[in-house]
């Protein structure tokens, strides 16, 4: 199906007029020529400004994917991501859950890695020369109490991260996120306020799709000083049982659901949050094509997270999505991302 029939561009309108003027050379030829060349010259601009951080495109690697080392984030940057998030870091090192920790299924992925990380000090060492990575890097930090978050922020203060992300929403690790009661407006306010006092960096708060009135929670984060909302973390937890083994496949039995199964829920969450807050939203959940990314932006996102899609399309998914966005935007006469943010709202 020709998408142009639904969204006629200037060029197509002129082509149609030309057709009905019996293809005789006329003023429309000149107009067509000018319009077409203009169209070629101005490729859509994917740059965004996220809380003062300049991104060459809106795709962001979310926490938990590949973010264990500087070397892998360099490679993510080489593959076209606009920004990248490190694997969530706690004050003390954590080994995480036993294997299996990640398992794909027909509609995405189930994971319960359990926040394995080498601790704040080691993370500060690994990312000491962060400027070697050509894109902005976001530090995802975790803790049980508000003080823990502040301690991690302090340990990372010498490292030049572009922003701090607080995932107050993990569904499968005791002592953290939902299992520590961090998904309530009160707890979110406490943690965000404490971190706000400890850093001048932009704070992103990552929310759970499980929260029924997610707009209220986003508002609590905004009121406490958050600069952006990341929506959403994984859904659930869910479970996959191997029926021959008669046992859940993940060692932790349950895990967060990501990928295609999560996408419509994530889009709705972003839509709801956009109505509730003024701060930008990073829409994350099941995005694997340029069309998905644009859909999320129309729901209200300024940037988009791409995680499980890496398994589906490879690490160059960032570049692929950007190309697909550019093509669609050209065909539909959008020049930049800002023009599309939130336009699905009444």
């Amino acid at each position: 199906m020709n998408k142009e029939t639904h969204f006629p561009s200037k060029v197509n309108v002129l082509r149609t007029i030309k057709k009905y003027t019996f293809n005789k050379p006329c003023i429309f030829d000149i107009l067509l020529h000018i319009s077409a060349s203009k169209n070629q010259m101005t490729a859509p601009n994917l740059n965004i400004n996220l809380c003062g951080i300049k991104l060459s495109n809106p795709t962001i690697l979310p926490s938990g994917f590949l973010g264990t080392s500087k070397s892998l984030l360099k490679r993510v940057a080489d593959n076209g991501a606009g920004a990248a998030t490190i694997k969530s870091v706690s004050l003390a090192p954590r080994e995480g859950h036993k294997n299996p920790t990640v398992i794909p299924f027909e509609a995405g992925m189930l994971n319960a890695v359990g926040y394995s990380n080498p601790g704040a000090e080691e993370t500060a060492r690994e990312f000491a020369n962060i400027n070697e990575i050509s894109i902005p890097v976001i530090a995802s930090i975790i803790g049980t109490e508000a003080d823990d978050f502040v301690s991690v922020v302090d340990k990372l203060s010498e490292t030049q991260f572009s922003a701090i992300e607080l995932p107050l929403s993990c569904p499968h690790t005791p002592g953290f996120g939902l299992l520590a009661g961090q998904g309530t407006p009160e707890s979110t306010r406490n943690i965000v306020s404490a971190v706000r006092k400890a850093t001048k960096l932009p704070i992103f708060v990552k929310l759970s799709p499980n929260i029924p009135e997610i707009g209220n929670l986003a508002k609590a984060a905004e009121d406490a000083g958050a600069n952006a909302i990341t929506a959403v973390n994984t859904l659930g937890p869910g479970m996959i049982i191997n029926i021959e083994a008669r046992k859940p496949v993940l060692s932790y039995k349950v895990g967060g659901v990501s990928g295609p199964a999560l996408r419509p829920i994530a889009t709705r969450c972003v839509y709801d949050i956009y109505e509730a807050v003024k701060i930008p939203i990073i829409g994350t959940g099941g995005i694997s094509t340029g069309r998905h990314a644009i859909e999320m932006i129309m729901a209200g996102a300024t940037a988009v997270g791409i995680g499980t899609g890496i398994y589906q399309r490879g690490m160059d998914i960032f570049r692929k999505i950007c190309q697909e966005m550019e093509t669609w935007m050209s065909e539909n006469n959008f020049n930049n991302i800002d023009e599309m943010i939130g336009i699905a709202h009444d």
Binding site: F65, L66, L72, E95, A245
Partner: protein
């Protein structure tokens, strides 16, 4: 790969046969087809216990097997298993060994160098290369640790203590062998210190090298970043890497990540892994 030859989620398979390879090593055979290339690996799941990567060490049209050294809790439990019991298998994953055209058409030659339990990653390759111009060298710390020494003819055995075969390391005689055979490619799997020597030898003599690396793994499918080695994911980009890839991997031969993701020296990593 068709659906029945590759498994995205673990599929329970019955142990068909168990072979004692040495005091502390057993092979477990499964009567099942698998779309396997030499050098790839599979994930083996003991429900409710853990999941670990293993090379396929025996391979045929309708069967495959893995070789398990008794080392930690997982492998101890495997060693207690009997034929008829089941384990979960997913995979195979990663990139395996490549065979250059000149080796295939008989004008070129190859050398395979295995050390310790690294031999388990090379057996299917050795079998695939039978009938071609190849040399196989196997090494171990001592006689009882030698794997698959009776499976093949025309192999040269080395032990660190001289309890069997030549005393020393397979790398000791590479220079002489290369003068004689003029190798096009060297394949290796074993202790990383040995593989580093093989890689350096290859660079010096402008021979292609392919080494199979080991790192602690989690997802096995290239998304979690646990098994990273200088920007390369051992589970997806490897486990077999060629000279061009190894040239860029400074961590090869020196660093690895612990379960927490802490990057430590290979010595410290080895102490944790018990090897």
């Amino acid at each position: 790969m068709t659906e029945e030859l590759y498994f995205e989620q673990p599929v329970m398979m019955k142990i068909d046969k168990i072979i004692n390879e040495s005091d502390d090593t057993k092979s477990f055979m499964f009567r099942h087809k698998l779309g396997y290339n030499p050098g790839q690996f599979i994930m083996v799941w003991l429900p409710g216990i853990d999941e670990k990567p293993f090379a396929v060490s025996c391979f045929g049209e309708d069967f495959f097997g893995i070789t398990v050294l008794e080392r930690g809790n997982f492998t101890k439990l495997m060693h207690k298993m009997k034929p008829g019991e089941q384990v979960g298998i997913r995979g195979p994953f990663g990139h395996g060994f490549s065979i250059p055209d000149n080796v295939k058409d008989g004008t070129g030659s190859a050398c395979i160098i295995g050390g310790g339990c690294g031999m388990a990653s090379l057996t299917v390759l050795i079998e695939k290369l039978q009938g071609y111009n190849t040399t196989t060298l196997i090494g171990a710390t001592t006689k009882t640790k030698l794997l698959f020494k009776n499976r093949y003819k025309d192999i040269t055995i080395f032990t660190d203590d001289g309890s069997e075969g030549r005393k020393g390391y397979p790398t000791d005689i590479l220079e002489d062998l290369h003068n004689k055979h003029n190798y096009n490619i060297l394949y290796t799997c074993g202790p990383e210190i040995m593989m580093t020597k093989v890689y350096q030898f290859c660079n010096k003599h402008d021979i292609q090298c392919e080494a199979s690396l080991e790192r602690y793994m989690k997802c096995g499918i290239g998304i979690c970043g646990q098994c990273v080695c200088d920007g390369q994911m051992v589970c997806k980009d490897g486990p077999v890497f060629n000279s061009q890839a190894l040239d860029k991997m400074n961590d090869f031969g020196s660093y690895s990540l612990l379960k927490s993701g802490q990057r430590v020296s290979l010595k410290e990593y080895g102490e944790w892994r018990g090897c």
